[in-house]
């Protein structure tokens, strides 16, 4: 069978299973998630034996130790996948919820009913835990899912797929509700992205290169997130101590993630009070600063920020710093260089807090809190499947509800159109 035929068969099977999943009762979905959590522990030795094959191949091809770390299905990873599934089982089921009903002059009663999206394709890189995490979220929201992980994790993902299918069968759900693409060739991705007839949504998870490839080649809608160039703006009316605590947390607590701060904007009237102490704190934590001319006048030892620095997602202990003349200048800088991800204002000015919230066009805008709160769990959405920085369908962290849509339902008693 050609790769294309394999992919078409998978997509058709997913579409067929989606019909059954769409009206699957909540209990049955939860039962499958809990069965899978148990079975992951039971099948751990099998899964880890397959994972070992991937790890050996990865070492042979000289993959970086960071990559190998992400590829490893340790006991802790097994436990974390199982715990994640139990958490998803405990979340409320979004499917079937009806909006308030409105009544039309002709007596028609109209409401929106929440329904699954249908078939979701997930394209991701080396972490095998995504296979289970994404499957759990998609299933809970009544969807079926096609998973295409990195080729270097193929043995691990196939083993996880077998465990998932066994749990589905045990719980009376269609085994093809979750499918792993069983071929390593990149060609499989291109074919997957062409199955518009069967697949409702593609979610790519990985580096910018992968995501741009998916967007370029997909005729299916894509929920995506290119990068997080997150800003903190320290206003002239900020509490200096609070501002430093927020900035330190935003940059240092976990610098390698998309919601870490990459550029610090400081109002010129706060710069003298704020920057020297802040710079000492950052220096102690090993953060390298790159500043504009006004910043460097206050912090003479630091490097110069070039134009490229304002666009940079360092994902590292590096921070671009700019002194701005006004909040409007900060907003305008964010509009020019930002990535619509996460921006913070630190201020005690009610007026400027409200204006910043309204004017900044990012998925999460915060007053007096760290950028690190742009996260589904932290914002109370439950588990998240990613963060969207494009505006269609979802903008910001995506939880269970973002894996659903609504249809209109209309109750009549014989109405016809005049």
């Amino acid at each position: 069978m050609t790769i294309e035929a394999t992919i078409v068969d998978i997509a058709k099977a997913a579409k067929k299973a989606a019909l059954a999943m769409a009206t699957c009762p909540t209990d049955k979905k939860n039962q499958a998630l809990l069965a899978l959590a148990d079975r992951l522990h039971k099948d751990a030795a099998l899964i880890q034996a397959e994972n070992k094959k991937d790890l050996e191949a990865a070492k042979a091809t000289g993959l970086s130790s960071a990559m190998i770390d992400r590829l490893t299905v340790s006991d802790a990873v097994i436990a974390s996948m199982a715990d994640g599934l139990r958490e998803v089982a405990a979340l409320p089921d979004p499917v079937g919820a009806k909006s308030a009903t409105w009544r039309r002059p002709n007596g028609l009663e109209v409401a929106r009913m929440r329904i699954p999206l249908g078939v979701i394709g997930i394209i991701y890189e080396s972490r095998p835990n995504v296979t289970v995490d994404a499957a759990g979220l998609c299933l809970k929201a009544g969807n079926t899912v096609i998973l295409r992980g990195g080729s270097e994790a193929l043995h691990s993902n196939r083993a996880l797929a077998a465990t998932i299918s066994a749990s589905l069968a045990e719980s009376g759900l269609p085994e093809t509700a979750v499918q792993v693409v069983p071929v390593a060739d990149r060609e499989a991705v291109t074919h997957l992205l062409a199955q518009e007839e069967y697949i409702d949504l593609i979610i790519p998870r990985g580096g910018e290169g992968l995501i741009r490839f998916v967007v370029q080649h997909s005729s299916i809608p894509v929920l995506k997130h290119y990068k997080g160039v997150c800003h903190v703006y320290v206003d002239q009316d900020a509490d200096m101590e609070m501002a430093r605590a927020i900035c330190f947390n935003a940059k240092v607590q976990r610098p390698g993630v998309c919601n870490a701060m990459e550029t610090l904007l400081v109002h010129r009237d706060a710069a003298q009070r704020f920057l020297p102490d802040m710079a000492r704190q950052f220096a102690d934590a090993g953060v390298a600063l790159r500043g504009c001319a006004a910043t460097r006048a206050l912090l003479p030892g630091i490097e110069t920020a070039e134009e490229a620095d304002w666009y940079a997602e360092y994902l590292d202990l590096i921070l671009a710093v700019k002194v701005v003349d006004s909040m409007d200048a900060a907003i305008s800088h964010i509009a020019t260089y930002g990535s619509s991800h996460t921006e913070v204002i630190v201020t005690n000015s009610y007026d400027r807090a409200m204006r910043f919230l309204a004017a900044v066009d990012s998925s999460v805008v915060l007053v007096n809190a760290s950028t690190r709160f742009n996260d589904g769990g932290q914002l109370g959405l439950g588990a998240e499947i990613g963060i969207s920085t494009s505006k269609l369908h979802a903008f910001g962290p995506m939880g269970l509800e973002e894996l659903t849509t609504t249809k209109f339902i209309v109750l009549g008693n014989g109405q016809i159109r005049e």
Copy 2:
């Protein structure tokens, strides 16, 4: 300047104007809409003179009279565009509305705030009234818009664009909040669809060929609607008279539109009571029936429905008719051949009505009412910009709210992440 450079300039200007529009007060937007309504009447002679150039060229190239009718900006079309704008001005502004706030254990207060999408590209065929209707809806929702109409309407659309820009300037809004692509080449569309950096959404309006072209070539999200193969299922417990009235309305009242019925499904226990009388009514109205074997046993004179008929969007006085063994068979037929647009059940069974509503995967599902109610105005959304049959972002008729999205806003008092 190359066509590509022209398009990039337009897209950049739209993005820049979007910043100003996003925080534009409601009053000012409404004022611009009302100013435009007035100015359309004032500029009518100018617009119609330009329209005459398009009409003459269309006649010279032998365009069909239906196409010429759609291209004509008559006094009635001017009045209808102006009235439409006044209606949109009277609708509530969706922008800035905040959801209920929820409080996290660490004291963060989280809410969703409704915001414009940003820049919307509309690609459409010959009707020049779309230029004004779409511009009005996009503006009211705080967006900027790039309009690319059919090349045969270019003079008309440029004249309308001049009228729109003058009204925007008069009301203190950026003149580039509405722009018409000033070149006829199809190449302009391809370049437009590549401006992912500046354009947030593409809405194609026209035939299936245009829409498939846009989906294939766009790296920007597309809200689309391929076709409406709408079904009415007449259950064994239907009120026969109501069923006939609904079916007649769904097929005959306006057969050329996407929410007209194309296939009638009848439960076998209702077929004898329902079909002969229904067929007489249809025959009187000139509707040609194409039936399955069981239908033809009751209505011997009609044509046979072939496999292709179950997929057909006739947009004409033709109807495919099938007798089914059960509601589940009807649901399964709809899942196989339908277009996720509009489906109706006529029944007095509460149980089957509820099951049909839950199981049928279409943008609007109705009980005991005509398919013709799948329409933004009829469902109470106000004016609509189209009907989406794909599930991302919007599913069903799209009103003002569907031209917006939400961002998260978070109010803190110094929270950092542990």
